[in-house]
């Protein structure tokens, strides 16, 4: 992959396949993506991102949020979705599908701008 095709900062190429599915603005939208995902999609994203998450956060923490470029911004959104996926994979595991139905009634009505 050459630099022009990359949508994430250098070093995070392994997460490219997950951008379209998981990079999303807003906590309610990210919660929805978790709800609508398959166990395979969640596990694949978790396996790819678990080892990279700390380094990605460190990298993004070097800049104020309003100075992130488009690739860093995409990585930030991807990581925030990863928080949802980590709860699904690490805590709910095989109960996740049933749990999604329980969560849906708890409508996210306000969140800091993101």
């Amino acid at each position: 992959m050459n630099a022009a095709e990359r949508s994430l900062p250098e070093g995070f190429e392994a997460l490219e396949p997950f951008v379209e599915r998981w990079a999303a603005g807003g906590v309610a939208e990210r919660a929805r993506r978790r709800d609508e995902s398959s166990p395979q999609e969640r596990q694949a994203f978790y396996d790819a991102c678990a080892a990279l998450a700390e380094g990605a956060l460190d990298r993004l923490d070097e800049k104020p949020l309003d100075r992130l470029d488009a690739r860093e911004e995409r990585l930030r959104e991807l990581l925030l979705s990863f928080a949802h996926v980590a709860l699904a994979v690490e805590i709910q595991a095989e109960a996740e599908a049933a749990h999604a139905g329980l969560r849906r009634e708890l409508r996210i009505t306000h969140a800091p701008a993101d």
Binding site: V27, R30, A50, A53, L65, A86, H99, P112
Partner: protein
Amino acid sequence: MQEQHCFEMSSVEEAAKLFGRGPVSSRPYYDPDRWELERQAIFMRSWLHVGHVCEIPEPGCFIRRDVEFARASLLIVRGKDGEVRAFHNVCTHRGTQLTDELSGKRSRFSCRYHMWTFGLDGALVSAPDFERFYVAKEDCSLKPVQAQVLAGMIFINFDPAPAQSVREFFGPIAEALEATPIARAVDFTEWSYEIEANWKTSFDNYQENYHLRVVHPRTGEPVLGPENPFGYPTHYGFCGPHRSQTLWKNPSPPPIPPIQLMTAMRGAALAQKDGLAFPKSDFKLFPNLHVVGLPPNQFSHTHMPLGPTRTRGQVRMYWTSKADSASRQFARELASMSVRDVLAEDRVAIESCQRGLSSGAIDKFHFQDHEVLLRHLYQEVEARVQAYVAEQQQSGVPA
């Protein structure tokens, strides 16, 4: 522990002795006539949490809050003088609601119907062709509702002359609340839900740990252990109509999964940087507000009655600074969704409980000793309903 300064903390045996062990009536949990009494005796004259000052940071900022049990729509406004005031969202000309917006900022409120215009202090500023009304402008101000702020939280009271200020009502708890992060919150994450349950059925779920291992087998696992398989609190505390509990600390919790651990450590480091050192805390405040501190996070949970067996739950996780880094956003997103995941699990059990109660099949039931906080709420509600009925009888009004 913070709450021990303001709550009289007791062992479970001591608490059971204080409040008895007899059966309680199931009727208060579903009966429409009983709900009407609770509405009048409690909700129309208690301090109710409806918002936070961070929602109206500057003069002219307002929020609209609809309070269904009172059939009221309220405007809560920050005045030019910085004071927080509440008014009925009702034009004093012929009752038109002044705004449909949930929040905003403006210097005055103009009625869409005939353009009566009110200032942020509720005074009528102007009205077209007003001389034809033959009334004084001073008599046309917006109808106020009592509003007071404590620990950043906005409380309203439909009683035009409340017996106590909000500070008096909370007594020594007021100071403890002011020491919590909620008092200096600048933003929050919120979710809300409606549930087919009486407000007490709904609140009661969060007043006992007896259900944890059944309803929360995964999310509750860290707070259950062989020494305490139910995860019961170690102490229960009482202060007037308010309650608290001291959570048991699991000496050997299960291993924390890697991303949860990484996030908790980042969250703790950021909390230290923010000076967010505070103990675990639990405030179950009369009638319907629960404030929970699980450092470094704190959330409020209100159970607003919509009818005898319908309630709106609203949960807010409060933040004391703007999210200025990816790590802070990540820690907050995971923490808030983690709490939402736990609370999502209770709903089905609560609604099922309500359907059974509403059937009238059991006319009484028992609370076990570790459900003493539910019993305390029951007794506090009962005392107010009885006092209200006596008051109505004395004044000759049939209750």
